[in-house]
Symmetry: C2
Subunit: 243 residues, 2 copies
DNA sequence: ATCTTTTCTGCGGGATCCCGCAAGGTCCCG
DNA sequence: CGGGACCTTGCGGGATCCCGCAGAAAAGAT
């Protein structure tokens, strides 16, 4: 059994490597990659089915790497080991998990023991392990309260990319008015809505831009989510008959 | 001589601590804080004039901590030790450095030796040390080419917060038209400008939102810059006669 | 099958944004 | 002092955004 580490911080890499050796005596080889791209290649070559990776790497971010790895071999087991539990990350991960796949998400702030336990659970006992904090986020994000629909999240990303209503309508096959409805919905859920009539005069916000701001502050969006979205967008644009 | 470490990752903290002991035999005490707030308090109490800190900490970010520390004792020497060289960070730091202060900015990806050298240079020889990569950013950011004026940067932040033209005009004591001029300027420099007339039809962007998107993608803005700006904004709002 | 709830859609209008045009300002240089 | 570079401001208008209103379509529920 071999384990592949994908993590760009050398310190964390060596810490991980040691933790793996300690927690998994049956492991007879640890490979290391220092960015997503190299990780994908290594995973393809060495056919390792056991991966521990960081999200947010500078060169190619973890979610993209995981997506392509899982696309090639869905039975691969991946433990995400990240600093943050941003909603953007959690959402990004759960969006790409193949059905029935075994995976884990533990924070770097977790204790030594928790990490080792997670390693054994995922790689040996085939059991998913999600950090409580992350799990909490997931619940909150999917629950009725403060929960964002897939549609709402999608349109949030679209305006964050800077698309106009019309462009969004075109991309999502909707009428312009429907796009605006969803936007309204989004504004309400983000607590940015302006009840009309009341001339709260100063401190007036541009709803569209304000929505993006609070989404960023709440970590509903983050840099890597934006990067992914931008890549998707330009792929879509290329596919369009550019008149 | 005592050195204070402000860094939220325990691994990096212990690595730093060891590096300090190795590089600075004259150091007779290393203190540690795991977030900006605790760091400020410790700095105040122990009167340490030598600090190494991370930017991007979860609780209270490094730039804010540095600002208050330098406000209280401008002669404090601070070495920023960060993962990234985002323009937002570099700009944020150089904005708060007191005149004549001794400080440093080295990336975590730097070698062992470079870190130790930087420690000696700053704390013993009173000489500033800026990582070449960071320095490069600074040059590019201040040079004529691709350089953003303070005014432009300011208005970028304002729209990223979601303010309307009118609100910005009020806040910055300008006419609405001037705000729009600066915006136009910004759009051009961000390469988002729409030459008019040409109905590039699809792929049409909302300039305001698009500008924010590319600023984020280029790391001209990032989460912590936004957080600081948001704090400033609400302080300003509170100071306003709310009609 | 009928009723309810939700979503989609067009219309209309007020507010905002984006920007060309042109009339002052300020500051510096020769 | 005149000229040039730059910033600011007002005006005007077309495009976009935000959203109430109400009918049509779709998805569930009883």
């Amino acid at each position: 059994m071999k384990v592949l580490i994908i993590e760009d911080d050398p310190l964390h890499r060596s810490y991980l490597s040691e933790a793996i050796r300690a927690a998994l005596p049956e492991c007879d080889g640890v490979l290391e990659a220092e960015n997503g791209g190299a990780g994908e290649r290594l995973a393809r070559d060495c056919k390792s089915a056991h991966i521990v990776m960081d999200l947010q790497m500078s060169v190619r971010n973890g979610i993209e790497a995981a997506r392509t790895i899982w696309k090639e071999r869905p039975e691969t087991r991946i433990l995400f080991w990240s600093n943050y539990s941003d909603e953007a990350y959690v959402r990004g991960v759960s969006r790409i998990v193949p059905v029935g796949a075994v995976y884990g998400y533990v924070l770097k702030s977790a204790s030594d023991d928790r990490l080792k336990l997670a390693l054994r659970s995922i790689f040996i006992e085939s059991q998913c392990v999600i950090d409580r904090e992350v799990r909490g986020m997931q619940q909150r994000s999917l629950g009725t309260i403060n929960g964002f629909t897939e549609a709402e999240y999608e349109i949030l990303v679209d305006i964050a990319l800077g698309l106009t209503d019309r462009a969004i309508a075109h991309r999502r096959n909707l009428s312009v008015r429907s796009v605006q409805n969803r936007l309204q919905q989004l504004y309400i859920k983000l607590g940015v809505y302006q009840p009309l009539g009341g001339q709260s005069d100063e401190g007036r916000f541009n709803l569209r831009a304000r929505a993006i701001a609070v989404a960023l502050l709440r970590k509903l969006l983050n840099h890597s989510a934006l990067e992914r979205a931008e890549a998707d967008l330009s792929a879509w644009l290329a596919r369009q008959p550019h008149n």
